[in-house]
Amino acid sequence: MNKTVNQKAWFLVLPVLLLVAFSAVIPLMTVVNYSVQDTFGNNQFFWAGLDWFRDMLASERMWDALVRQLIFSAIILAIEIPLGIFVALHMPKKGFWSSFCLVTMSLPLLIPWNVVGTIWQIFGRVDIGLLGYTLDALGIDYNYTQNTIDAWVTVIVMDVWHWTSLVALLAYAGLRSIPDAYYQAAKIDQASRWAVFRYIELPKMAGVLMIAILLRFMDSFMIYTEPFVVTGGGPGNATTFLSIDLVKMALGQFDLGPAAAFSLMYFLVIMLISWVFYTVMTNLDKRDGVQ
């Protein structure tokens, strides 16, 4: 086929370009602007070069937040992915109960994030919360506002409650796409339950699981609302994750320069990780595409 060259076609890209410019590029540029300057109010700016970046890279506070962030993401992935697969494997395959499960499980996904935070904030209170009160009555010393471990457990359980459904629904969709013949052939081959999972279900779910891992990783890596509502980053800085720290720095202390440098580095890390996932996923697709 002959390709016709028409440079005017570039104008068709213009609307998207404008939209993206206003929604993403221009706001981002103001951040870039802040990150290389210092201001003392009155709209007076002084060139600071890469000083803020140097400061932030040397800042113990940022590294601590990053480490907390990575630990948090690792823990919730380690729980939600296997748990989601486990739930998907045990969901009813068809009929009323299958629909019932699907609808019930989507409910947490539909609740606004700050409402989820509020629910757990109250749920965990020792004086009026069902969970906090019950644990207290059972003689378990639980107080997420004072104890670091309790705060972490609360935030993690909340995230698991909120998001495992997403992994389960994706895994369930992957499972449903496996033709019956595979299971029948496995029966004839006398494959064990584990072998069916390992050699049929897991490979067929690989694609959707990559998406699940990507979504859960990115979301947890950027998490702000829920822990902010529940613990406010405390006790101390125990649950101060990257976003919470960033907001504290930018809006609480009004350190616009360092916060902007922090944001840009945060952004680059997320871009990098997304790129890695994207590459892995397209390779998976390519490999499957050969069939």
């Binding site: 033709p179 013949a181 595979y182 029948q184 052939a185 029966k187 004839i188 081959d189 006398q190 494959a191 064990s192 072998a195 050699y199 049929i200 490979p203 067929k204 490999r287 499957d288 050969v290 069939q291």
Partner: protein
């Protein structure tokens, strides 16, 4: 290998079947002889897959028994029956190599490594994939995958039967012939009992020693390709096998004579009973005639398909097909058709009736 006996077998997908129509598979008694190649032929929804799944144990029949060499396996799970099945869509374990795929059923049965290696090598040779044994199964073509699923059945040397559920549906046309030839050869060399489900008459007729034709949940005829062609036991067999299928004429039968559209036709043999019946004649036996003898017909068009010509005719308002040789000249002004008595079958209520004094 085993003889498979179906005793009084029937199946319905409903909980409480009452009428005959409720049964997806109507009552059936049949022996599948050891070492023979059968094709199960019928259109979609005729119950052939139901029957296959009952034999393989994926489905428990609502009545009757399945016996392997006299042993009742009606309720035995698939694994106990020691059968192999090749499905419509190739089933391979994507993440394994071809070799691991072939070894998988043996490994699951706890066989020792040396024996597994020997058998995998042998089967790799049988299915002509020795060179690809170390390739990943993912990314192979559909026909190669289908050969692997066949191979997974054949590594179990004591397998009772090989079942095929429309295995060539997703295979490219030029590979179909090759695979079918290979299957026939494997059957010839190793003599497994094979049951091959298909809706493609060419596949069925070329593959099988005996073809089992099913229609509406019922086995209507079991026979060699020649028997199905010459003496279809049911009008469906006549219609389904052959291209185009058998022609049916409404006729008044009285002894040796049938009256079609007012024209008397000699049937060659006498038939019991009189009244409205149907006369089945395959297109291959119908000849055009310019004389005054024969049934009045109007030639509507001629389709030349290369190896022969198909004549579309109209007889008494019904469409009739005839086949004439590629080199034959179609006589000018032909307005009648004739056919030899040996090409005639007589049907009452869709079932063939035998002439008097001759067994069915």
């Amino acid at each position: 290998m085993a003889k498979i006996t179906l005793d009084n077998l029937a199946h319905s997908y409903m909980a409480n079947p009452k009428a005959d129509d409720d049964f997806a598979l109507k009552e059936l008694n049949h022996d599948w002889a050891d070492g023979e190649a059968y094709a199960l032929l019928g259109s979609s929804g005729c119950g052939k897959s139901t029957l296959l799944n009952i034999i393989s144990g994926l489905l428990i029949p609502s009545q009757g028994r399945v016996l392997f060499d006299g042993r009742d396996v009606t309720h035995a799970p698939t694994a106990d029956r020691n059968i192999a099945q090749v499905f419509q869509f190739p089933v391979v374990y994507d993440t394994m190599t071809v070799r691991e795929n072939l070894a998988f059923p043996l490994k699951n049965r706890g066989m020792d490594a040396a024996e597994i290696a020997r058998r995998v090598q042998r089967v790799g040779k049988m299915i002509d994939m020795e060179a690809q044994l170390n390739h990943k199964a993912r990314g192979l073509t559909a026909d190669a995958k289908q050969k692997i699923s066949l191979g997974r059945g054949m590594v179990r040397e004591d397998v009772n039967a090989l079942l095929f559920d429309e295995p060539l549906t997703v295979i490219d046309p030029h590979m179909k012939w090759e695979l079918r030839t290979q299957l026939k050869k494997l059957h010839h060399d190793f003599g497994h009992t094979m049951i091959y489900v298909t809706h493609d008459q060419t596949e069925a007729l070329t593959f099988a020693d005996k073809v089992v034709v099913m229609y509406d949940g019922r086995v209507v005829q079991i026979g060699t390709p020649q028997e199905l062609f010459e003496r279809p036991a049911h009008t469906f067999v006549g219609y389904f096998i052959g291209s185009p299928g058998m022609n049916l004429f409404d006729a008044e039968v009285d002894g040796r004579t049938a009256r079609i559209a007012g024209t008397p036709v000699d049937l060659g043999d006498a038939y019991a009973g009189t009244g409205t019946m149907q006369i089945g004649v395959r297109p291959e036996f119908i000849r055009l005639s310019t004389t005054d003898e024969g049934i009045p017909a109007r030639l509507r068009r001629v389709e030349d398909v290369g190896r022969h010509k198909i004549l579309r005719l109209e007889v008494n308002g019904h469409e009739i097909n005839a086949i004439s040789g590629e080199g034959d000249v179609i006589p000018e002004g032909a307005n009648r058709i004739t056919f030899a008595p040996e090409g005639v079958n007589v049907y009452a209520n869709d079932w063939r009736i035998s002439p008097q004094g001759k067994a069915a």
